[in-house]
Symmetry: C3
Subunit: 331 residues, 3 copies
């Protein structure tokens, strides 16, 4: 609803939007900001529809509506089809006419690219890697041999897909490397943040299912499986052979030990450690918020003293038992 | 003071310095090492001035004096002006005659470089990136479009500046990407360690102020602001929209949740988690030092048993209350 | 023992192996899987030798035997000697005829390469770097000037060796950079995982001894020394000047503060923090497994309340002391 003469050119926060921007309100708490915003229009929920007289879009999910409008205003990448003269491409590789291959890209034997794929400068795809249509690989990505990326992948700079998992056997005083001969297989609509690493499987594959979103600097070890539409925040680390269900939310800096399984719908709070399989959806946590250093030292000292406290508590209990035995007026 | 015929060619530790090296003493505890050092000269504080007869530089801040002397002896980089034949440079880019552009560098449309900038091999600067004078970018850095680096920046290999922040909206069973249209704006005299990532802002900018020093493998999410002269040690992770004040010291491996604000002068101990805003300068901690595995298991078991202990403590207290009621000699 | 007409072409898990694969059994618990496996042959321990009638290799260390057989079946890399036309190589560098230099590799002045070295696309070796024979550097590795890698190194994509350590002195309101003039010296048979970083020493060298295995995304700060045959799992971080002994096992996500020393044979559990030197071999831990969020909040509240509990326990003890003084029947 509103003035159809308005042209929206960009997005802004309620506080920062200019007269050609659209802003959004997702939290009624900030409703007051509608009064002072200079935005041309706002996106808001039905409950807030009367809180402004600005041109507005009413949405049951204002944040998602904002996402879609922003996508329309800022298209992810406008591919300029063509192959840069400096790209090094094996003769076996067919480049779709709609694809864009940047400078110094290296495509080894048997690489397969879908339509409208964009490959950024210096990215290297090793033998037989396949990348689905409409994918965008930013500069300086490395994908090791045989790995697969689905359609509409977004892969940020510094990502390494398919490096060897950390597998070795101890023998006669030294470690013997176990060849990592599985692949990494990634579904459609997956985004992978800068400098994240996903190791190839030891024998079978490491799998990332459709719609998974991975933030920066995440480590996913060999043989993991990450269920569809799960999101993992920055700096999390998954040890080998861990399986994560669908629609999970793994917080930043989380660690998950190897060979455990998380069912669908598990949320792990940031900075927590998972050491056992989880079979019930819900939120799991082990992180400890900071306090002033001195008071934390006291807490720590108490923590260390608990065995001593337990002894003292037991003595008190025994004394009381004796007293009660000899004391008729205590029941 | 000392023998002006001495020529210093390098630096060394007190134990390792050779006869053309200068060493330094910052901690009186190690004063004994002055006796055995083979250094040509030493830098020390007034309090230690008589602890050696070696040629010496007396400084109120021996460590800083050492830093400046070492900088003079080992200049950071001696730019060899010129553009390598393999660099891929958009015609719109002006390269100062004093700048050095390495092999396979990619400079896209509208990139702006200051005087004496050095760009290492394979580094990619996307559209409209600007880099201030006297900056040094090591090989294999990626800076996404529109981001800015101030003067005298030092950026190590593998750094990614301006990748998309981790923003998405949940809608009808899948995640919808929120375009990240802000920039990363970095002040002067900032150093960024290897493989650190700094995401661009969602709508407004991610900001790193003057003099900030970032170690390796740090993750800085979208919309963060890091105040001037703050230092952050390796592997720390900042979630989105976090603001850190000036002159803060963030330890290694620290996690900071999103949307909190740390005032100036806050120190966070390594491996700690910050979950709330901090308004008072000081040291904050939540990290737990290791102990032998078996004793830690006992500590953990006690921690888990605390609810049970509390019940026992309450029973004891109630018993005592009853006893005291019936016991005249207990005042 | 078995049918010598069998040809093994690959490896598989007991469950996944096909009729030309060899599988292995390392844990008697899974002995049942021998019944259903389709593998052509299995490797197993003497104790399990009679659990199958399949062709089999009996080994005292089935896992190591598997590793060696897999290495034979999947050779790490078959170097195709030659120098790609796009490589940028300083005239001072001698390339052995047996070496393979990929596209866009940059080898600066004085680089020394051993026989049969393979250097992947876009990898940059700065002045005077040396790489021992039979080493494999994957694409997009950076080694800063003067650093050394021993024979049979495996270095994965995104690794940065020899970036500046995080050293600075505080002086008059700003940080002054301390030049990092040591090197990184790496022994033989070392593997380094994707996006791991190892900083050069400040004055002396950062040292990684023979046979060390490093997983992905590890940060090793300046002046560290890692003893022979030590393994470190992903996302671990070592602060400056830390020394780790031989045959240690450092878990994923572990943090170790600076200037401490771990003796030989120390295991640190994943996600633990080491703040003091360790002089006895054994396992050390400080990590806390997650529990359901609500129960963890209770645990945390109890932890914070410990000072209050201690007061209550003391009151109880004092009361009892008084009671006992006035109570002849108690002892």
């Amino acid at each position: 609803m509103g003035d159809d003469a308005i042209t929206i050119q960009g997005v802004g926060t309620l506080d920062g939007a200019g007269p050609t921007d659209i802003a959004f309100l997702t939290n009624t708490l900030y409703r007051d900001r509608l009064k002072s915003t200079r935005a041309a229009a706002v996106i808001l929920a039905p409950v807030d529809r009367d809180a402004t007289s600005l041109p507005r879009i009413i949405s049951l999910n204002p944040y998602a509506s904002y996402a879609r409008i922003a996508q329309a205003l800022y298209p992810q990448s406008i591919a300029t089809p063509g192959v840069h003269a400096t790209a090094v491409i094996h003769p076996s590789v067919h480049i779709p006419a709609s694809a864009q291959i940047g400078p110094n890209v290296v495509l080894e034997e048997g690489v397969m690219l879908g339509e409208r794929v964009v490959i950024g400068a210096g990215t290297t795809l090793a033998d037989n890697v396949s990348v689905g249509a409409d994918s965008l690989l930013y500069p300086r990505v490395t994908v090791y041999a045989e790995c697969q990326l689905g359609e509409r992948s977004i892969v940020h700079s510094g990502v390494v897909i398919g490096a060897d998992g950390f597998g070795m056997a101890w023998d006669q005083g030294a470690w013997v490397k176990i060849p990592q001969v599985g692949r990494v297989v990634i579904g459609c609509d997956v985004e992978i943040g800068a400098n994240t690493t996903i190791d190839r499987g030891t024998i079978e594959d490491t799998v990332v299912e459709d719609g998974v979103k991975l933030d920066n600097q995440i480590q996913i070890a060999h043989n993991c499986r990450i269920g569809a539409h799960t999101v993992i925040a920055g700096c999390a680390g998954l040890s080998g052979s861990t399986k994560i269900g669908r629609h999970c939310r793994i917080g930043g800096g989380v660690g998950i030990v190897g060979h455990v399984e998380l069912c669908d719908g598990v949320t792990v709070s940031g900075f927590s450690l998972i050491t056992k399989s989880i079979t019930q959806p819900g939120i799991y946590t082990s992180s400890i918020p900071s306090e002033p250093h001195r008071s934390w030292l006291t807490t720590l000292a108490h923590l260390r003293a608990l065995p001593e406290w337990l002894k003292r508590l037991k003595i008190v209990e025994q004394d009381l038992k004796k007293i009660k035995k000899g004391t008729p007026w205590l029941k």
